[in-house]
């Protein structure tokens, strides 16, 4: 069941909201929470009921491990073995379902062996709920959280708005909300504001991402088939994918935040206009922010972070980004994508060490930094999207003119351009680079704690002028946006991050 499917929009979501708030208004809070857990499990099982025992087993095992760690800590006995067992359990689960085929294929290719392993279907959301629960176990071990309520823990893991593709939430930011006084209490403002955020996300997905997607698909299919690619075609296709993945994933995140808001639950931000970043460090503070947070807190810092000297710092960064790449998918193209970002981060940190961090940039310098960052990110997306390494190299060669496809003159280049495609890409690029993002538009109705530059950017004239207000003009504008979205809805396409 996808957020953009009619069964979700017109049956599942309204029914779940209705039941949740009816039980809440009767004071049956635990039943209301149980309804949310049940709805979340239904949502998960809709894709493939066979994997329901997997998520239930994983949730229950981690809960038991968490309780055992808490007990040991209270008794003053060693809890580390349980923590290690718990982390190993989660990694084994993820390793088997996500990486076993990749590992065997790589081994066969590298050693000439002929080990056979039947294809294992990747269970939906396993990367997300595994990471979330590893973080939980570590937090419990460090004494940051305590949880003994299985129902609330079950909701923390399975809460359907963020179950499939994040945001990856911290136990400490969710449990107080599940245990709070306001849970289950209906507030029209929550429903309406959540609905607005949801429809902005849905608009990004079905109107922006899905319309630009065919341009990217066309390019990468041509590359996979070994076809010759025009210079202009390559640029438009790669830009199209750069925009597609942003609007697709940030649209999904907005929808998740919006749905949770309708239930009175605040989820952390996951995107903060990443293509406005002025450096790769800045980019990773704006792109998939909850993953960056996880990798920093549970991988980079435990590896030693920047505490063990510059050499270890760069090595740690590279390890984190390589594993981050591998987390996205079991394939060498994802590893290369992660490695490239590790390299970019190394260069960015090295530059800062050499030149210092400027307090502020001049307008031109800022524009150059933005452009350079955008291009670096765009080039890396080629590896992320391409079918295989050959296809990625072919696209990069076409993009740089190394494939012998560079047009001889400007008129030759202009002649190659597909005008409607170029207009579409230019329009979407302008939105990504210059328009206020969802949280700048919705302001106080979104959790902006994780967005350090939010305040400054939201005070810019355009953002202030456009900021949502409780008035008829905004109601009419958003209603028209909703109408366009609904009218474009009828052929739901999957979200890119569902595959991870």
């Amino acid at each position: 069941m996808l957020f953009n499917s009619d069964i979700f929009l017109f049956v599942f979501l309204p029914l779940t909201l209705l039941t949740f708030y009816m039980l809440g208004s009767l004071g049956k809070i635990r039943l209301a929470i149980a309804t949310l857990v049940l709805a979340s499990l239904t949502y998960y099982a809709w894709w493939n009921p066979a994997y329901l025992p997997l998520i239930l087993g994983s949730t229950l095992t981690n809960y038991i491990m968490g309780v055992a760690i808490q007990r040991r800590l209270l008794q003053g006995t060693r809890a580390k073995p349980i923590l290690i067992t718990g982390i190993a359990f989660n990694l084994l689960l993820l390793g088997y379902f996500k990486y076993a085929n990749f590992f065997v294929d790589s081994l066969n290719a590298g050693s000439g062996a002929n080990i056979e392993l039947a294809p294992i279907i990747l269970p939906l959301a396993i990367s997300f709920f595994t990471f979330q629960q590893i973080a939980y176990l570590v937090d419990v071990y460090q004494g940051k959280v305590q949880e003994v309520d299985l129902l609330r823990y079950g909701l923390f893991v399975t809460f359907f708005p963020q179950l499939i593709a994040g945001p990856i939430v911290h136990h400490k930011e969710m449990m107080p909300q599940f245990a709070g006084q306001s849970i289950g209490r209906f507030k029209l403002a929550n429903l309406v504001a959540g609905g607005m955020i949801f429809f902005i996300g849905l608009f990004k997905k079905v109107v922006l991402a899905d319309n630009v997607a065919p341009l990217a698909t066309q390019l990468f299919n041509a590359a996979a088939a070994g076809q010759t690619i025009d210079f202009a075609h390559a640029w438009i296709g790669v830009l199209a994918y750069t925009l597609q993945i942003y609007f697709d994933f940030s649209g999904y995140s907005d929808m998740a935040i919006g749905i949770a808001h309708m239930f009175g639950i605040a989820l952390p931000l996951n995107f903060n206009s990443p293509y406005k970043a002025t450096g790769i460090i800045d980019f990773w503070r704006r792109w998939h922010m909850t993953l960056s947070r996880f990798l920093r807190d549970y991988l980079y810092i435990p590896l030693g972070g920047n505490r063990l000297g510059p050499g270890r710092r760069y090595a740690n960064m590279m390890v984190v980004m390589l594993l981050g790449g591998l987390w996205h998918g079991a394939g060498w193209n994802f590893v290369i994508w992660g490695g490239l970002h590790g390299l970019y981060l190394g260069i960015n940190h090295g530059w800062r060490t050499w030149r210092g961090t400027p307090a502020s940039h001049a307008l031109l310098a800022r524009a150059c930094c933005r452009a350079l960052t955008f291009l670096a990110v765009m080039f890396a997306w080629v590896f992320f999207r391409a079918e295989n390494l050959d296809a990625a190299l072919s696209v990069l060669a076409s993009l740089t003119g190394l494939a012998g496809n560079a047009p001889a003159s400007l008129s030759g280049f202009l002649g190659q351009i597909d005008k409607p495609a170029a207009v579409l890409v230019a329009a979407l690029l302008s939105i990504a680079l210059f328009a206020p993002n969802t949280q700048q538009f919705m302001g106080e109705f979104m959790n902006v704690d994780g967005a350090p530059k939010y305040r400054a950017e939201s005070e810019k004239p355009l953002a202030r002028w456009l900021r949502w207000r409780l008035g008829p003009a905004y109601a009419i504008g958003l209603a028209l946006l909703t109408a366009i979205t609904i009218m474009s809805l009828w052929q739901p396409s999957e979200f890119i991050y569902y595959q991870f």
């Binding site: 009619d6 306001s182 507030k187 029209l188 403002a189 929550n190 309406v192 504001a193 808001h261 009175g264 639950i265 605040a266 106080e444 109705f445 979104m446 959790n447 902006v448 704690d449 409780l470 008035g471 008829p472 905004y474 109601a475 009419i476 958003l478 209603a479 028209l480 909703t482 109408a483 366009i484 609904i486 009218m487 474009s488 009828w490």
Partner: protein, 415 residues
Amino acid sequence: MSLSTINSEADKPADRNTDWRRYLAWYLSTLLIACALVAGFNAIIDPQARFLLVDKPGFNQVKTTLETNNRKGKTTALRQCSYDTIVLGTSRAEMAIALDSPPLNDGRSYNAALKAASMYEIRRLAEYAMLHQDLEVVLLSLDFVAFNTQSIFFDDFSDSPLAETVSLPSVVRYLISLQTLRESLATLKSNVRGNALICVDAGVHKRKLKRKAARTAFDTILRRYSTGQYNRYVSGDLHLQHLAALLQKLIAADVRVYAFISPAHVTHLELLAEMGLINEYEDWKRSLVQIFAEANQDLPEQRRAILWDFSGYSEITTEKVPAPDDQEFMRWYSDSSHANPNVGQIMINGIFGRRADDVATAAPFGVRLTADNIETVIEQTRLDSARYRRDNPDEIARMQEMLRNNPETARKFKH
């Protein structure tokens, strides 16, 4: 966190329910009005011809954005244009019967055959045609797969006027849709300009063949049948009853019926044999003969429905399939299932007793099936099959390997 609606218990201005209610009222009423306007406009123009509330020349009568070779397109043509002869059947007839030679090239003939049609759909379409046309002749292609009781109708059937029930979600999707709005505007524009002509289309599916190995096209279709229609084939009376009912109606309306079993390449007969379906196939032929005999009972010769069989082993249906690296087109076939219009013309000539020097083969092609010769024809087909298998061992081995290598068909593969 700074979430006023979620966390704040204070009664901020933004939390006042009346303001939110007013906002919601503005929002919902705008949304409803926008959706209603688009839905209303789409319902009136109706570019896919689903409701026909308004059917006005120069406004929306001709549905220019409608694809002509699907259920909606063909029903539109049958409603709006004038024919005395129609072709019914599956894609085999849609591709083979080209209507560009006598006696069908008089502009009064229409190929209403539908891709992947079941006999139920064919009956519905024939009844629809009888409502809107004064038919004299029906050429009815009968294919074994159209009698699969597991297949009732194809994708676009339920959205076409042939459907007996209307699905509310599909109506909503159709009316509240930007895609339909675009089609409505295009329909309106071309009708107002007067440049929309649907009746020039004869309904024939003219396939442009690509210069790839004919063997590839052959194998692709065979594989598709082996994992699809044949793999799921369940025989039964359902579609036979539809055929019997249709024949009765056509004969009662004084429509002359020329039915024929289409000539797929004989590899299809061999595939049926390999998949253990050949007995069902032979019984199906016997049932057809019986249904025609019952329908023709007590009728004078000139009103009788005629049944031809072009599916047997002949010079045409046993055409040699080129080697995988051969780029030449086949003379008679587009792929293993679909004969080309050259074959269609020979069939038409045979049915109507015409001489045709241009594309005729010297060898006999097709036989008129009756209760008197059905067993002889079946026996002859068996003998021909044995000869074909003996003369073409590579073809049979290739087919067996295809079945064995596919997990979906391996269980049905009898060797």
